[in-house]
C-alpha cells in the first residue's frame, strides 16, 4: 500500500469578504462580516433583503470587453479565483497541460443571466441567446481549462451546498491515484433570483445577518463568490520548491437517504461521514483541533451538527470548537465548501480559530464551544471542514497545515 500526502500549493478567492487572498485573510482574521443590503437584483418582494454580495466588482478590471458577455458572473468569479491560485502555485510552467486538471463544484452557475432570458421572453421580447451561455454549471470549469490552457481531467460536481467540498476531496483523489500531477479544485457560485426567492419561499432566510448556533437564529444569509486550491503530490511540490500551505489528508462523503431538505435528526449520518473522513486521512478524532461547521444558522441544522459533533468527539466534544464563517461570507452554496476549506487553511496557518460572528444569546440545544466570544489562539495543526446539502449529500474534509 502506497501513502501520499496531497499538498496545497496555490490559493485563490473572490468573495464578499475579500477580492483576493490578502483581503480575505484580513477579513477572516479580524472577524469582519460582509453581509449587507443587496442590490444585485430587486429583493423588495422579500422580508430578508440582505446577503454577502460581492460589491465593488468591475468585470473590466479582469476581462476584455468582448470576453465579458461570454462568461456568466459565476464563470467570471471562478476564472478570477482559479487564476489567482494557479499564478500563486506556479504549476503551469512546471507540468504538461495534460497533467493538470480541473475539479470544481458549482451551484446556480449562470442562472442570474438565464433568469433575464426567461423574464424577457415572458414579456414578449426576444432576449439575447448569450444570456443562456452560462446556464449549465459545467461552463465555469470549461472556461478555466480553456483560459489557462489546462488539458487534464475536467469535472463539475453539482451536489448543491457540498459541491465544492466534494470537488476538493475528489481533486485530492485524482492526484493521489497519479491520474493528475496537479489539480485546480474549488467552486464558484453567484446570487440569483432563483436561490434567493427559493430559500425565502422555504422561510429559512434570516432577516438579520445570520447567527449560527445562536439563540433566536432564523436561518441563512445567502452569499456568493469563488475559491480555488491547487493540489499536488507533496514530494513533487517539494522537488520544485513550491510553497506548501497545507494538506488535504482525506475526505468522507455519503448520503443520508432521509429527506430532500431536512437533515437526519440524530446527527448520526453526519457523524458517520465525519468519521469516514478521519479514517480516510488515517487520523483519529483526538488529533482534530477544531471543526469548520456547515453552520448555516437555520434552527434545525445547527442542532443536528452539534449532535454529530458529540457522536464523533464524545467526551472531548466541548474541547473541539465548532465554528461557522457563514456569518462572515454568507452561505455561498456551490462555492461554500471551497471558501470554507480555504478559510480553514488560512486559519490553521495563522494559529487561530475564527470567531462565529453575530452572537444573539446562548441556545441550550447548541451547547458546545462555537467561539462566539471571539477568535482563539490555537496550536492545532488539523481541522475538519463540514459541508451538508439538499438531498442529504454530506462531505467532510480533513485539512492540516
Amino acid at each position: 500500500m502506497e501513502t501520499y500526502r496531497i499538498a496545497v500549493t496555490g490559493l485563490g478567492v473572490l468573495s464578499a469578504a475579500g477580492h483576493d487572498i490578502p483581503a480575505f485573510r484580513e477579513s477572516l482574521l479580524n472577524g469582519r462580516s460582509a453581509i449587507a443590503p443587496l442590490d444585485l437584483f430587486d429583493v423588495s418582494p422579500f422580508s430578508a433583503r440582505i446577503g454577502a454580495q460581492v460589491k465593488g466588482y468591475e468585470p473590466l478590471d479582469y476581462f476584455a470587453a468582448d470576453k465579458i458577455a461570454k462568461l456568466s458572473r459565476a464563470d467570471q468569479f471562478g476564472v478570477i479565483a482559479a487564476g489567482e491560485a494557479l499564478n500563486n502555485s506556479g504549476i503551469r510552467s512546471y507540468y504538461s497541460p495534460y497533467d493538470i486538471g480541473v475539479s470544481m463544484g458549482a451551484g446556480a452557475a449562470g442562472m442570474l443571466q438565464a433568469e433575464e432570458w426567461l423574464q424577457s421572453g415572458m414579456s414578449g421580447n426576444r432576449p439575447s441567446p448569450s444570456l443562456l451561455r452560462g446556464l449549465l454549471p459545467d461552463r465555469t470549469s470549461t472556461a478555466i481549462a480553456s483560459i489557462y490552457n489546462l488539458a487534464g481531467y475536467q469535472g463539475s460536481i453539482t451536489t448543491a451546498c457540498s459541491s465544492s467540498a466534494t470537488a476538493i476531496g475528489w481533486g485530492s483523489d485524482l492526484v493521489a491515484t497519479g491520474r493528475l500531477k496537479a489539480v485546480i479544485c474549488g467552486g464558484s457560485d453567484c446570487l440569483s433570483r432563483l436561490t434567493f426567492a427559493g430559500f425565502n419561499s422555504l422561510r429559512v432566510v434570516d432577516t438579520e445577518p445570520c447567527a449560527p448556533f445562536s439563540l433566536g437564529r432564523q436561518g441563512i444569509s445567502l452569499g456568493e463568490g469563488a475559491a480555488f486550491l491547487v493540489l499536488e503530490n507533496e514530494q513533487e511540490a517539494k522537488r520544485r520548491g513550491a510553497v506548501i500551505y497545507g494538506y488535504i489528508l482525506g475526505y468522507g462523503c455519503g448520503g443520508e437517504a432521509f429527506h430532500m431538505t431536512a437533515p437526519e435528526p440524530s446527527g448520526s449520518s453526519a457523524a458517520r461521514v465525519m468519521c469516514a473522513a478521519l479514517a480516510s486521512a488515517g487520523v483519529t478524532s483526538e488529533e482534530v483541533g477544531w471543526v469548520n461547521a456547515h453552520g448555516t444558522g437555520t434552527p434545525f441544522n445547527d442542532v443536528v451538527e452539534t449532535k454529530a459533533m458529540k457522536l464523533v468527539f464524545k467526551e472531548r466534544c466541548r474541547a473541539v470548537p465548532l465554528i461557522s464563517i457563514k456569518a462572515m461570507v454568507g452561505h455561498c452554496l456551490g462555492a461554500a465548501g471551497a471558501i470554507e476549506a480555504l478559510a480553514t487553511i488560512i486559519a490553521l496557518n495563522a494559529g487561530m480559530i475564527p470567531q462565529t460572528l453575530n452572537f444573539r444569546g446562548a441556545d441550550q440545544e447548541c451547547d458546545l464551544d462555537y467561539c462566539h466570544d471571539g477568535p482563539k489562539i490555537s496550536a492545532a495543526s488539523l481541522a475538519l471542514s463540514n459541508s451538508f446539502a439538499f438531498g442529504g449529500n454530506i462531505t467532510s474534509l480533513v485539512i492540516s497545515r
Binding site: S146, N149, A176, A197, N200, C253, H259
Partner: protein, 350 residues
C-alpha cells in the same frame, strides 16, 4: 491517503429508459433493428416543422410508484428513481438485506432541476412572492435525481452528481470506479439521467444547438450497477462485464504531436465493439486511431443528451459476450474526452 489497487470493478446490473422504451429489452431491440426512435417535435413548440426529439413517451411513473408520490418529483427524478430500482432488481440487490451505507449512487445529470427552476421562476415573475411554489424549489438542484433515488432505495453510501458536457455520465463512472477501488462502498449505481422539455428545446434553438451534432436531443436514463468484484462473487451475482481502464483528458490541444489522442487511445487496443457517444464521431484525430471493430452509436437512435453516456455504456455492456473487449469513446466539443474499457463477463481469476 490509502491507495488500494486490487479491487476490480464489475457490472452486475443495468437499466434503461429511453425513446426506445422502458427496460433493457427495448434498448436491445432498438440497437438490433437500428431504426431511429426519434419523433417529430410538435410544431407548436418551435414554430417550425422538421425537428426531431427522443422523448421517453412510454415511461409511466405510476408503473413504479403511487401517483401521489410521483407528483412530488420532477421528471428527471422520476427517471432516476425508476432506473435505480430496475438496476438494483437486475443486479438482484435488495438494499434492506445489505449494509445501506455501503451502497452509493454517483450520477451524471445534464439538465436536472431546470424544469422545476423554470416553473418556480415563472410563478415568481408572474405574481411576485405570492407566485412562488415552495415545494418546487428543493428539486431545482441538479442532485435531486440522485438524492431522490437514494432516499427511495435507501442508498446511504457516497452520493454525488456530476455534469460535464456530453461526458457527464462518464465523469460519474470514473468517480464510482475510484470509490469502489478505495473501498468507500461495495456497490455504486452510476450512469446518466436527463430530461427534455419544450422550453429546453427553445433554449437550444436560441443558442444554435439544434444544428449540427446537437440535433435530435433525447431524454431518459442509463444506469449501471458497479460492484467490487469480491463482493459480487461472494454474493453469487451474475457478472455482466468487467470495467477496465478509464482514460480521460479535458481538452484535445492543437499541435500536441498526438499526445492527447495517444493518452486517450493507446496503440494496440484489441476490441470487438466500440460505443461512440456525444460528439466522438466528429473527432477525426480520435476516430482515426480506433481499431477496426463493430460500431455502436445510440445518439442517432435515441437522441443525444448531456448524460447520454449512461445509455451508451449500458448498450455497450449489453452487446458484449463473455470475453469480448469493448471500448466506450465519448467526447464533447469543448472537452472532455473519455475512453473506457469494458470486457464481457467476469474478470479472470489469478
Amino acid at each position: 491517503m490509502k491507495i488500494i489497487r486490487d479491487n476490480q470493478v464489475v457490472v452486475t446490473g443495468l437499466a434503461a429508459i429511453s425513446a426506445a422504451g422502458v427496460g433493457t429489452a427495448a434498448l436491445l431491440e432498438a440497437l438490433g433493428d437500428k431504426e431511429s426512435r426519434l419523433r417529430p417535435v410538435p410544431e407548436s413548440i418551435l414554430g417550425v416543422p422538421g425537428h426531431k426529439w427522443g422523448k421517453a413517451e412510454s415511461f409511466r411513473a405510476a408503473d413504479f410508484m403511487p401517483p401521489m408520490k410521483a407528483r412530488k418529483f420532477d421528471r428527471c427524478s422520476l427517471f432516476a428513481v425508476a432506473a435505480a430500482g430496475m438496476a438494483l432488481k437486475d443486479a438482484v440487490i435488495e438494499p434492506v438485506r445489505l449494509d445501506p451505507t455501503r451502497i452509493g449512487i454517483v450520477l451524471g445529470c445534464g439538465f436536472g432541476g431546470i424544469a422545476n427552476s423554470e416553473e418556480f421562476l415563472r410563478g415568481f415573475f408572474r405574481s411576485g412572492a405570492e407566485g412562488m411554489i415552495p415545494m418546487l424549489f428543493p428539486n431545482t438542484v441538479p442532485n435531486a435525481p440522485a438524492s431522490n433515488a437514494s432516499i427511495e432505495h435507501n442508498l446511504q453510501g457516497p452520493n454525488v452528481t456530476l455534469i460535464q458536457r456530453f461526458c457527464s455520465a462518464e465523469t460519474a463512472l470514473l468517480m464510482a470506479q475510484r470509490f469502489l477501488e478505495e473501498d468507500r462502498a461495495d456497490i455504486i449505481l452510476t450512469g446518466g439521467v436527463d430530461e427534455l422539455t419544450p422550453v429546453m428545446l427553445q433554449g437550444f434553438r436560441a443558442t444554435g444547438q439544434l444544428r449540427g451534432f446537437g440535433g435530435g436531443f433525447g431524454e431518459g436514463a442509463g444506469m449501471l450497477v458497479l460492484e467490487r468484484s469480491r463482493h459480487a462473487l461472494q454474493r453469487g451475482a451474475h457478472i455482466k462485464a468487467t470495467l477496465g481502464q478509464v482514460r480521460t483528458i479535458g481538452r484535445l490541444l492543437p499541435d500536441d504531436g498526438g499526445e492527447g489522442a495517444s493518452r486517450l487511445l493507446p496503440a494496440g487496443l484489441p476490441v470487438s465493439l466500440i460505443s461512440l457517444s456525444g460528439s466522438a464521431v466528429t473527432e477525426k484525430r480520435l476516430v482515426e486511431r480506433l481499431p477496426y471493430a463493430e460500431l455502436l452509436e445510440t445518439g442517432p437512435l435515441l437522441g443525444r443528451s448531456l448524460a447520454m453516456g449512461g445509455l451508451a455504456m449500458t448498450a455497450l455492456v449489453l452487446g458484449l459476450k463473455d470475453g469480448d473487449k469493448g471500448l466506450h469513446l465519448a467526447a464533447s466539443p469543448e472537452g472532455p474526452y473519455f475512453a473506457i474499457d469494458f470486457k464481457g463477463g467476469a474478470p479472470v481469476q489469478s
